[in-house]
Subunit: 420 residues, 2 copies
């Protein structure tokens, strides 16, 4: 397809999404849940077709020489399709934020205001290889009354098409408006640029993927983008830290799972307890297979590879941890605000005043006192499901659940109020 | 200056703003109010200097042949400087949203979450000719703990510099951190593009000005932008509308002030009451000097210039009103969602069910029942002050007060909670 053909095709999808969004916004929670049930049922009914479509992607991926972990992420079997359908069951059980009255009051002139949650409208989701995102993202957006346009990775095109078709077709049996869930059905790269130009029809783009993808979208998009950048998370062992807690939280934050954005990447230790605490912490980490990269003062106390300036800004997503000794709480906060990614930071301390200063001083979405960084997560926060963890400060910050997929409007009722 | 020099100068300002923001976020409300008092005092003390600086701008403007209304907007005298200072007095009296706990709860594992309002951080304001914006915008951002970089119109450069200098210098006497309020001190056009690239240091840009300025910022900015586009506001006279109320609200919405975004631009009339209501409404409007542009059916009932397709999407900001007859509430909503700018819409009706359907069907920031469109305003809504009326759906929609100049963070306290 030529770029102009891609643009025109994407524009049609976007225009149709806007029309669908006006119907979606009028559905009741009960209607939406019935539609979600029908979507889950259709996904389950089409398991064989979805797995067959996935086999085409896997064959093409192998022929192209995709790396093993990539093929692993791409692969669907009956159990994985069931897991996707079960994800829909869980979203049905979540409360619907649409229609919630956030605030209501009456002004002196008698007009009565309500600030009411409404759907955002139309959302573009641009993602990479995992085909389960097709359903997970579309379903969260649908539950909140939003129409979606999905642009998945080219290597998963057959799987994504099969899943999106099942959702839309299954939903339509239960009253889902046409064009509520649309997948861009071709793999031309210029469809990403085209989507970024659709600000008349698309209210928001959420890129879910690596830094390169997010950068591309940020530099091209005319509409708001909610970004889920790296998690360069820190744990600070304060001078008033309990050794046992410092060890347990550091180990859990670093090794419970490494390839995730809320895993620990840098350990900061107050110089007053470096001699007493650092050796035990290091010993436990090394035992779990963690490679330590330390500042000079760290290396006077424990064995560690020398850390370079680059280490302080690196999200390893691996069994590697950078370690730095600081002389004060303030130095810890400054290091975090300078080198971090504003995601999640933890202080381990028995001193409440130090904790309060740390929490209000760190410019990050999630700031914790005596809690593992791994608990920065929509499920752990009680949101039920999340579409990601936003490193932005506007609209949604931190774990982004159903509520963050809504906007609001002011509904004002009066009896003839005029401007005087 | 070369573009590279501009970029480098703007980058220094932006980096300094970020550093200042970390100090601003730690100020108490009392400290901020003391600083605001000192700013207002310094503005008043420097009245003569500010008026003298403004005289330079006026002279340059006249020499360049600026139009009269433009010169009028540019002009400052002692009374206008006093009005700017009084605006600061009013912001002192407003409640500070920073530190407010939006939500708090404890999870089953015992960790306690608080979602707390915090400053956004650093905000770029790009605006056009009115020098009072320099103070109005900076002061609202400061009250909410944000550092600002101001980029005003070149024709007001001397006035803007004098005002920004007074605010920063006055504030510093009372403890304002350096670089909290910075004006770009040169007029090179490439400073706008440079600001748009500073996403590492700037969290948000708010363009305040015409469509051209907003378009430029939207297409270049890498960080979030909150847009205040046109107000193509509608009033729908439903079939159950009281004639007297329809007349009064239409007249007030259209003629109370015309050059503002919440003024009425299109009147929609239900065909069932077109014969009975439209002539009286038209008569009153024409008496106030309003030019009517009607659809064909309108012109069978009243005198009106033929409306073109373009009229339905035009913000006149003048004594002109487009008029269209529709056959149903649904048609009115569809017209509004298709041709409007998602700003403010009003239904006049005695039928509550129709009003409810209209309010939830219109995809606009402000939806009113029996209220003049002119009341879509931060002051009227009780916000005390507004930085504008957002036509965006993300983060801030409709009148944007102090609360909308904040972000939030999750502060979580525990006693060793880990991921299981």
């Amino acid at each position: 397809m030529t770029d102009a053909e891609v643009f025109s095709a994407v524009e049609t999808l976007a225009r149709n999404a806007r029309a669908a969004s006006y119907k979606l916004s009028q559905l009741t929670t009960e209607q939406k849940n019935e539609i979600l049930k029908a979507m889950a049922a259709e996904l389950r009914a089409r398991t064989a077709e979805i797995v067959a479509a996935n086999a085409l992607d896997l064959a093409a991926g192998e022929a192209k020489g995709l790396a093993k972990p990539m093929l692993e992420r791409l692969k669907l079997d009956a159990a994985k399709v069931e897991a996707i359908a079960h994800g829909i069951d869980q979203v049905i059980a979540l409360p619907d934020p649409v229609g919630q009255v956030m605030e209501k009051y009456t002004r002196p002139n008698g007009m009565h205001l309500q600030q009411v949650r409404v759907p955002i409208g139309t959302i573009g989701i641009i993602y990479e290889s995992r085909p389960n995102v097709t359903s997970d993202a579309a379903v969260l957006c649908f539950k909140t009354g939003n129409a979606t346009i999905l642009r998945g990775g080219s290597e998963a095109i057959h799987s994504n098409r099969a899943i999106a078709d099942a959702l839309q077709a299954g939903g339509e049996n239960a009253g889902l408006p046409a064009h509520a869930i649309q997948l861009i059905p071709f793999t031309d790269r210029s469809s990403v640029s085209a989507l970024c130009q659709m600000d008349k029809w698309l209210d928001l783009i959420i890129p879910r993927g690596g830094k390169g993808l997010i950068e591309t979208v940020v530099s091209q998009a005319r509409m708001p983008v909610i970004k889920h950048y790296d998690g360069i998370c820190h744990l600070f062992v304060d001078k008033a830290a309990d050794l046992d807690m410092a060890v347990k939280l550091t180990v859990n934050s670093k090794v419970q799972k490494t390839g995730v954005c809320n895993a620990l990447e840098t350990l900061l230790v107050h110089s007053a307890v470096a001699q007493s605490h650092l050796p035990t912490i290091a010993e436990e980490l090394v035992e779990k297979g963690v490679e330590l990269r330390g500042c000079e003062r760290t290396r006077q106390i424990i064995d560690a590879v020398p850390a370079t300036e680059e280490d302080w800004g690196t999200e390893y997503l691996d069994l590697i941890l950078s370690v730095k000794i600081v002389d004060s709480l303030e130095e810890a906060i400054e290091h975090i605000n300078t080198h971090g990614s504003h995601h999640t930071e933890t202080i381990v301390t028995g001193d409440d005043a130090a904790a309060t200063a740390f929490l209000s001083g760190c410019d990050s979405a999630c700031v914790f006192h005596n809690v593992s960084t791994r608990l920065a997560d929509g499920e752990e926060f009680g949101f039920g499901a999340e579409i990601g963890i936003s490193t932005d400060k506007l609209h949604a910050r931190g774990p982004m659940g159903l509520r963050e997929l809504t906007s609001y409007q002011y509904r004002v009722r009066g009896n003839g109020q005029r401007k005087l």
